[in-house]
Symmetry: C2
Subunit: 308 residues, 2 copies
């Protein structure tokens, strides 16, 4: 799947992933009113408007971006109804040819981790297999070590899926644990984690030289990104933190390899809520959401191309 | 909620939490056959049998154990239907007076972490608040630092809920990251994380001297458990790894304080699948599952009491 992702990035000349992280505040006022009138002020109403909001964005961008990354927490907060909207979103995105990165950041051990691996492995009931989550990649947390990761790395091979494991995140307090200096080599912990990730992915390297086991490296970590790029040449990066979290294209130069490959950059609010920033779109409905998202995605592609 | 938990442990003289982590293999054969005949070999059939399996156990143990800990991964692997069974389980457990520890191990940052906090905070739609997950405590992963934890610690106060943050887990590969020696003091990373957890919980200390922000410390980590008990006197421990993962009561002596308080010990398979080990129960239905679970829970209580 990493080869498919890279090929699609090359084809579209666009290393962007659109973060589908809706909030009620992002939904156009008239759309909110319509759904709340129809379904009451209920989790179902919110979930259903999330799906149609996402659908408007997917319809507007599926031919210019390679992938979408729904953040499951935004749906999970609305319970079962919210998660149903997540699944409807991933299923619809795949039907439009988009690669789906499920931002789930799960992490556990043994049989529990194997259960979470159903996100990319599907689940068997009797002799039938069910793909219930429709994800091509998922994000994972590394704190519990190999026991948490191995059930996923085996699926990466058998089902041609991919992983992005937290390495250096984009938030200010990422330093509290990730930057702790390790006694053996006086290097920060995230480099130690990087070595683990490299090892977990060393048997899954694809045609472009990148492993199916990638890493999350925040766009706000400009220096660190340059360093991990040079240390881990086979590691593909999922890069959050662009735009809303303050990083721009200039910060990302060191994240790419000499061929302009090696990472995919996420933007969420900057694309999906772009309509709120433009006079021509801000009083519109879901069409305006889609039109503004397409324009913002094109702008981001142009901006990223200046450094490639 | 930590005070409620400790009071209930004292009342029942039982620091046990029953892990509700069902698998299809744990369901009595005749029950499997009945559900599969009725609903087909579908995720719904599995989810519905999980709920009724859990209900049989809850009905059998709610008056002798203070809490249950469903592991959300076991349900999440069956998609939306599975998660519905999780919610039915937590709701039913609460209706029987059990304290519910949602083993979700979520961890993210900022607005995403705030969204996950809906697990214990509920979610607002308009002016109405919905408690969609029915959990009193949740488990969290610490790798992203304070940004991931703070949205939960504020809820712990406002809604009287509790947290258990991963400190030292019970799995063999927990050493890969958690035991890395930190340069500044040559101490393992988990003690550094322990100091963070202590700090996150220092303003939430209840009547028994324990914070609403607790930690996960695996039962297999006998020495480490003793050490963190002495270093962090206000930190309440959730202790997985008893029984099936190899630890016994003797391994846990150092986890408790001088009053016999300070932790709650999880057993999953050893209680919920106990019927499979006894001739009198192993060919029975859900009644046998419940009867054997009750006996196993009483046995575990007796075993733990030998060290208190």
């Amino acid at each position: 799947m990493i080869d498919t992702l890279i090929a699609r990035i090359d084809e579209l000349k666009n290393p962007t992933v659109v973060g589908l992280d809706p909030t009620v505040e992002m939904i156009p006022q008239q759309v909110q009113t319509d759904y709340f009138e129809q379904y009451g002020k209920t989790p179902f109403a919110v979930a259903d408007m999330f799906f149609h909001f996402n659908k408007a964005i997917i319809d507007a961008i599926y031919d210019i971006v390679p992938a979408v990354k729904p953040q499951i927490a935004m749906y999970e907060q609305y319970g079962i109804e919210g998660l149903s909207a997540y699944v409807r979103t991933t299923e619809y995105a795949k039907s439009k040819g988009l690669i789906v990165i499920g931002d789930i950041k799960r992490g556990d051990i043994g049989s529990t981790s194997a259960a979470y691996a159903a996100h990319i492995d599907g689940v068997k009931v009797g002799d039938d297999e069910f793909d219930l989550w429709h994800e091509d990649f998922v994000t994972l947390a590394p704190y519990m070590g190999s026991d948490g990761i191995k059930p996923f790395t085996s699926v990466v091979e058998s089902k041609d899926k991919g992983l992005f494991i937290l390495l250096k995140t984009s938030n200010p307090s990422s330093s509290e644990i990730q930057d702790v200096l390790v006694a053996s080599d006086s290097q920060p912990l995230y480099l130690h984690v990087g070595k683990l990730i490299e090892d977990w992915g060393k048997d899954s390297i694809g045609a472009y030289g990148y492993s199916k086991v990638g890493a999350v490296v925040g766009a706000t970590q400009s220096e660190e990104g340059r360093l991990v790029r040079s240390l881990f040449p086979h590691m593909f990066f999922l890069v959050p933190g662009y735009g809303a979290q303050g990083a721009g294209a200039a910060d990302l130069k060191g994240f790419f390899d000499k061929d302009g490959r090696g990472c995919i950059v996420n933007s969420s609010r900057g694309i999906i809520a772009a309509y709120q920033k433009h006079d021509e779109y801000k009083n519109g409905g879901l069409d305006a959401v889609g039109d503004a998202a397409r324009q913002a995605a094109l702008d981001m592609r142009a901006e990223l191309r200046t450094i490639l």
